[in-house]
């Protein structure tokens, strides 16, 4: 009984560490998942506006509203990339780029999406990992 009890505690402790680890975006980075998230239309859908190297679409089937993301990992630090994705309004209040990690000031959001941003912090971290690899 006592041994099981300890075991349970150990599991609980490990689980806590684990979930803390995942809550910290830096610890969860996965560039491959980042690319998937950039492709998914329910998530990043980034190529509607940007040329995204590696996304598997011909250039003319990708948007040209925003700058090409070719070599963006050499231009911007991970912190700058994260800031641009989370809320591009911080850098350019008039930006057309959606605020992927913020719901501040949003109006008239459909109820299927209300109250949460498009991407979680972990998802943004995955995308940052992918973008950082573009040099």
């Amino acid at each position: 009984m006592v041994r099981y009890h300890h075991l349970g505690n150990l599991w609980l402790t490990l689980a806590t560490i684990g979930s803390l680890g995942f809550a910290d975006p830096a610890a969860a980075q996965d560039a491959g998942r980042g690319l998937e998230l950039m492709r998914a239309s329910e998530k990043g859908n980034c190529s509607i506006c940007h040329l995204v190297p590696g996304i598997g679409l011909p250039d003319e089937a990708q948007g040209n509203i925003g700058p090409s993301l070719e070599g963006v990992g050499a231009r911007l630090t991970p912190a700058e990339l994260r800031a641009q994705i989370v809320d591009a309004r911080a850098m350019n209040p008039e930006t057309i780029m959606p605020p992927y990690g913020s719901i501040k000031g949003l109006a008239d959001v459909d109820k299927r999406y209300r109250g949460r941003p498009i991407l979680t912090a972990g998802e943004v971290a995955d995308i940052v990992a992918y973008l950082s690899s573009l040099r």
Binding site: G63, I65, I103, A107, D110, R112, Y113
Partner: protein
């Protein structure tokens, strides 16, 4: 794509040459189409939208409710030439701006004593296509002053307000990004001079209200129901942006 961009630039330049240069002149969505889609629209025998115009022609002559038809009051559909240039317009009886579709339904309810058609029904979009088609080639000229002025202002405010999870206004795309590509799709001015349109993506004919709903869904905004007062007032604003553009109904779009 280059060819398309050139065609758009050329037509913009052509129009800009003949108009005072301060404001961007209106350009039909037609100018942003691939040549093969333009050809489809131009050929009345191939244009799928003509099927709806034909169905509208049948409904025009069909007695309903108290046994009267559109034809009994208005004569041939050709008598409607010019009418489509004015809608949405202020209705004295309703005390608000109404769309052409709502005018058709008003005739059904008041004069034919028949049940109104659903806003997105095939019947209503067909009758609307028939009436708009009679004005093909005439310049759109909706009134935005007088009793329509407040509806126009509300439509304009809606058009310019960012909304939805993507935080985008209609104007962010259709004013600021005209000619850019959204994925593979060139962004036009969002003009409505060809509506109702046959949209290949829908494999169906749709009203301006349906297009508004589509764009709103894309930015994950609360839906604006077809035929709601706000949607009609937004349509008034959209039509006013294209005042002077020739009506193309039935237009074909991708």
């Amino acid at each position: 794509m280059k060819r398309l961009a050139l065609a758009v630039a050329a037509s913009l330049a052509a129009i800009a040459g003949s108009a005072p240069a301060q404001e961007t002149p209106p350009v039909s969505g037609y100018q942003f189409l691939l040549p093969e889609t333009q050809a489809l629209q131009d050929d009345d025998f191939a244009n799928p939208g003509m099927l709806w115009v034909e169905l509208g022609g049948k409904l025009w002559d069909e007695p309903a409710g108290n046994g009267t038809s559109c034809q009994n009051c208005h004569g041939a559909p050709e008598a409607m030439r010019g009418v489509g240039t004015r809608y949405p317009q202020w209705s004295q009886t309703e005390g608000r701006v109404i769309s052409l579709e709502q005018q058709v339904n008003q005739c059904r309810a008041e004069r034919q004593q028949a049940d109104p058609f659903g806003y997105s029904s095939q019947e209503l979009v067909s009758l609307s296509a028939l009436v708009m088609h009679q004005s093909r080639g005439l310049p759109m000229s909706v009134a935005t002053d007088g009793p329509a002025a407040s509806a126009y202002r509300r439509g304009k405010a809606y058009y310019e307000t960012r909304r939805g999870q993507l935080n985008l206004a209609c104007s962010n795309c259709h004013v600021d990004q005209v000619g850019s590509r959204l994925r593979g799709e060139p962004i036009s001015q969002g003009q409505v001079n060809g509506f109702p349109i046959y949209r290949q993506l829908w494999q169906d004919m749709g009203s301006v209200g349906r297009m508004i709903a589509w764009c709103n869904d894309a930015v994950r905004a609360e839906p604006l129901a077809e035929g709601s007062q706000m949607a009609v007032e937004l349509e008034l604003y959209l039509r006013s942006l294209g005042n002077g553009l020739a009506i193309e109904t039935p237009a074909v779009r991708r």
